[in-house]
């Protein structure tokens, strides 16, 4: 694909007014702010964020989940691993708030202990996927030409891989039965396979944003002023293209928690003493008709966690996005 040339700019009306990123940052700020040192993009964003209740609520939830992941014993003294069949599928009560699962394990304790694997795997893989896909997307979209063609076609090849096939091969090679990987190694491997199989979508998304943005006047202006490629990408392109990526990424946290469960269920993911929300949800499937609470609690935690990430992402995006200032 050829680089869209400057001709297109002349022919189209400016879609967006150049933003004030390049302008003195303190121009429109209140009196007291003007005395401070000029802040960068991040400083602005932080100022913006501090004033949003949405940010504080979602951040509080995320901190709570992170605490859960790091120190589960703070939240429960129940046993997440050992059960007794005598309490199999006992409904929620004062003794066991969330009831007991088929194996007679405490669902509350399992949900708490499940936060670690779920959140670590999901966040690490989403972060990795965004990083790989985002970088590739920016390069492909900005450089265009053969670079774009090459990267796009590599993405196509990866995109064509069936998820189950790719994951089985990657994970059985490194995590087959009989291997004694620690649970951290397994989590890393699971995240790795999710990244390898997940980046092409992000790359396409980023590329589309860059294509739409890169001929905007402020980019052209920056280029005309002699800004280097790195500066244009980091200071101008990235903040303006981040929106769809952040939105997609935060929701992806949810699907990756589910994907991790699929892998565990196939026998290539996390192994038994380790528990995750995804595993709990798949274990509950056969009992939806008799014991729906087995499905409800892990799903509710999952939705709350994803909701917090989505809201946080939303707040951060609005703060970062110069167009919404």
């Amino acid at each position: 694909m050829s680089d869209p040339t400057a001709a297109s700019i002349v022919s189209t009306p400016p879609a967006e007014r150049p933003t004030e990123v390049g302008a003195p940052t303190n121009a429109g700020l209140p009196e007291n702010a003007r005395k401070e040192k000029p802040r960068g993009l991040l400083g602005d964003a932080w100022r913006d964020l501090r004033r949003k209740p949405l940010f504080w609520i979602s951040a509080a939830f995320i901190v709570l989940f992170l605490l859960m992941a790091a120190f589960p014993w703070l939240f429960t003294n129940g046993d997440a691993v050992n059960g007794s069949l005598s309490r199999s599928r006992v409904e929620p009560s004062a003794n066991g708030w969330f009831g007991y699962d088929v194996q007679g394990r405490d669902v509350y304790a399992r949900v708490i202990y499940g936060a670690r694997a779920s959140i670590v795997v999901a966040v690490v893989s989403v972060f990795g996927t965004l990083l790989i896909g985002g970088t590739m997307g920016i390069i492909a979209g900005y450089r265009g030409g053969w670079v774009d063609a090459l990267l796009s076609r590599i993405a196509d090849v990866f995109f064509g891989l069936p998820f189950v096939l790719g994951a089985i091969v990657i994970l059985t090679t490194f995590n087959g039965s009989g291997t004694s990987n620690s649970k951290w190694e397994i989590m890393a491997l699971v995240s790795l396979s999710l990244m390898v199989l997940g980046w092409p979508v992000v790359m396409r998304l980023m590329r589309s944003s860059v294509l739409a943005t890169k001929e905007a006047d402020y980019i052209v202006a920056a280029r005309a002023l002699g800004a280097g490629t790195g500066r244009i990408i980091l200071k101008h392109l990235l903040p303006n293209c981040l929106a769809p990526l952040l939105v997609y990424g935060t929701i992806m946290v949810g699907s990756f928690i589910g994907a991790e469960a699929t892998l565990s269920f196939l026998g290539v993911g996390l192994k038994t003493p380790v528990v995750s929300w995804g595993i709990m949800i798949s274990e509950a499937q056969n009992y939806i008709r008799v014991s729906p609470f087995l499905l409800f609690f892990p799903a509710a935690f999952l939705v709350t966690a994803v909701l917090s990430f989505v809201m946080l992402g939303e707040a951060v995006r609005e703060a970062l996005d110069p167009k919404l200032r």
Binding site: N82, S84, L85, G176, G267, V268, T272, P273, Y287, I288
Partner: protein
């Protein structure tokens, strides 16, 4: 033995080969309306056969059921689980359990109109045994004299670079056609149970037409000699069968057409069954078993039966951690089978208390003393055995529903013995079996056994005799071997069963495996079907169906 190929199936073992009193739903005693039955059609649940339908080449339940319907063998197994009786055979006679004279009925026909003659059996068996044909059930003919000449072993196993030598002969010397309606079978060694085996699908006759075309082509349009004949096969969608009007044996069909709908998911089939779009499902899905929902959904159309299959967890005795019989016994005694039956299987599979499934002729009930639940004794034995070092992993194949019960067993061993036990899934049955076949298991593993033919012999020789075809844990006890050998070649079934009982008593002391549960089957039918019975293997007995 057959494997169920529906990954989501509740019973991964499949309700395959078994002999069972099929206590069909009692409410149907009034029978059906003869008029409605005569031209009636039913739609039943099935799975896409793995391979084209050739009897000696089918080892899974989807194709196996269709072969059982389309063919009638020399003997048949009655639905009530009794001793086999003659079907196509007029008589099977022997004086020494080594040479059998088989006379067949003269008036039976294949679906293409040709008569079923002695040579159809002999040719079919020779085809199945001849190793270059690669029939999956080829080894079933190993009893017959001359098998070694037509079936050569690969000198370095199938994986090795060397090829198996060309067999010396094309036909087994032990098979002789006497006249059109008589043939003689000479076995390599006396085998009392041989006539019992003849009802298994591998021993079915093949029409002359089979030998004039490629087996795969035949298998796409199979020609059998049973009560129903083949009409059409639309891959992954449906297989249609219809009544064979020239059928002369007793088990004629009362209905006309049988439509086998090929489902990939048993839940889909079940929902069709409940809403009246399907007439019979052999095994309802796990999600409907929980809390006995299926009984509420189906009412008196729910059928609970037992199948002679047993869920087992085996020890890799080649691993020296498991060589102490006291340790093995301790683990077995620490498992509360009743609780697993109640909580995990909702009572649909009964706790195992004997080595051979008690429905099998010759098997003794309750002869597994290691199957009791006795924590004190277990702890004592474990202490005597010197405890267990390290982690005890129990492996299962994750592509079928074994996770729940394997985890429950591991948890009980952990709680009751203080051994660090856990269950772990292996992604596919293929990888799982490959490691088991190669004797590379690093812990205990799930096994299952469904008998191929109804006799206790099938529960001892393949599993617990040195070199047995499924003795994967390499258990070996000279006394057991000697007793089993004597039992197999005993002149009568009674003497054979008595000897096997002695062998089983020795096995009980050694605990080479841990039997956990006996198989159960939960089927359902539509309101349209007024009367039906299940066969000894839990399949629908088509000839019993009335509308």
């Amino acid at each position: 033995m057959r494997v169920s190929k529906r990954a989501t199936s509740a019973v991964a073992l499949g309700a395959a080969f078994a002999l069972v009193a099929s206590g069909c739903s009692g409410s149907d005693s009034d029978g059906g309306d003869a008029g409605a039955s005569a031209d009636g059609a039913i739609t039943i649940d099935g799975t896409q056969p793995e391979v084209p339908l050739v009897p000696s080449n089918t080892t899974e339940t989807g194709g196996g059921a269709i072969i059982d319907w389309m063919w009638t063998g020399l003997v048949e197994y009655p639905n009530d689980g009794g001793a086999p009786r003659n079907a196509v055979a007029e008589s099977i006679e022997t004086t020494d359990s080594k040479v059998y004279t088989v006379k067949i009925k003269q008036n039976t026909k294949f679906h293409d109109g040709t008569p079923v003659k002695a040579k159809n059996f002999v040719d079919a068996w020779n085809w199945g045994a001849y190793s270059p044909n690669g029939a999956q059930n080829g080894s079933f003919f190993a009893d017959i004299q001359g098998f070694g000449d037509v079936h050569t072993e690969d000198p370095d196993g199938a994986e090795g670079p060397q090829k198996a030598p060309e067999p010396k002969a094309k036909e087994m010397s032990g098979l002789k056609v006497v006249d059109d309606w008589t043939f003689e079978v000479t076995l390599a060694a006396p085998t009392a149970v041989f006539p019992t085996k003849l009802g298994y699908s591998t021993f079915m006759p093949l029409p002359d037409a089979f030998f004039t075309q490629k087996p795969d082509e035949f298998g796409r349009k199979p020609i059998g000699n049973g009560p129903v004949k083949f009409v059409s096969w639309e891959d992954d969608v449906q297989i249609k069968l219809t009544r064979f009007d020239d059928y002369t044996l007793n088990d004629k069909l009362k209905i006309k057409d049988v439509n086998i709908k090929l489902y990939q998911d048993d839940t889909a089939a079940y929902n069709d069954l409940v809403s009246g779009n399907l007439d019979f499902q052999q095994q309802v899905p796990v999600s409907s078993l929980a809390g006995d929902k299926w009984k509420a959904d189906l009412g008196d159309r729910a059928i609970q039966t037992t199948t002679p299959s047993t869920g087992i967890i085996a020890f890799p005795i080649y691993d020296k951690r498991f060589q102490n019989a006291k340790l093995r016994r301790a683990i077995s005694l620490a498992i509360n089978r009743q609780e697993i039956s109640d909580k995990i299987f909702f009572g649909s599979r009964k706790p195992a208390d004997s080595w051979a499934n008690p429905l099998t002729p010759g098997a003794k009930q309750g002869n597994c003393t290691a199957c009791q639940f006795n924590v004190d004794e277990a702890r004592k034995l474990l202490a005597e055995a010197g405890g267990f070092q390290g982690e005890l992993v129990m492996y299962y194949n994750a592509d079928a529903s074994h996770k729940e019960w394997m985890e429950a067993v591991a948890q009980q061993v952990k709680t009751n013995l203080g051994i660090n036990a856990r269950a772990e899934g292996v992604p596919t049955f293929a990888v799982f079996r490959q490691n088991i076949n190669a004797h590379k298991m690093k812990g205990m593993y799930r096994a299952g056994w469904q008998q191929d033919y109804p006799d206790v012999e099938n529960w001892v020789n393949p599993l617990y005799v040195t070199g047995g075809s499924s003795n994967d844990g390499l258990y070996s006890n000279k006394d057991v071997d000697a007793l089993a050998k004597a039992a197999s070649s005993a002149p009568s079934l009674e003497e054979s069963h008595a000897k096997f009982a002695e062998a089983v008593a020795l096995i009980d002391q050694d605990v080479p495996t841990v039997p956990i549960y006996f198989g159960g089957q939960q089927s359902g039918h539509s309101e349209k079907i007024k009367k039906l019975e299940l066969t000894n293997v839990g399949e629908l007995d088509l000839s019993s169906v009335e509308l």
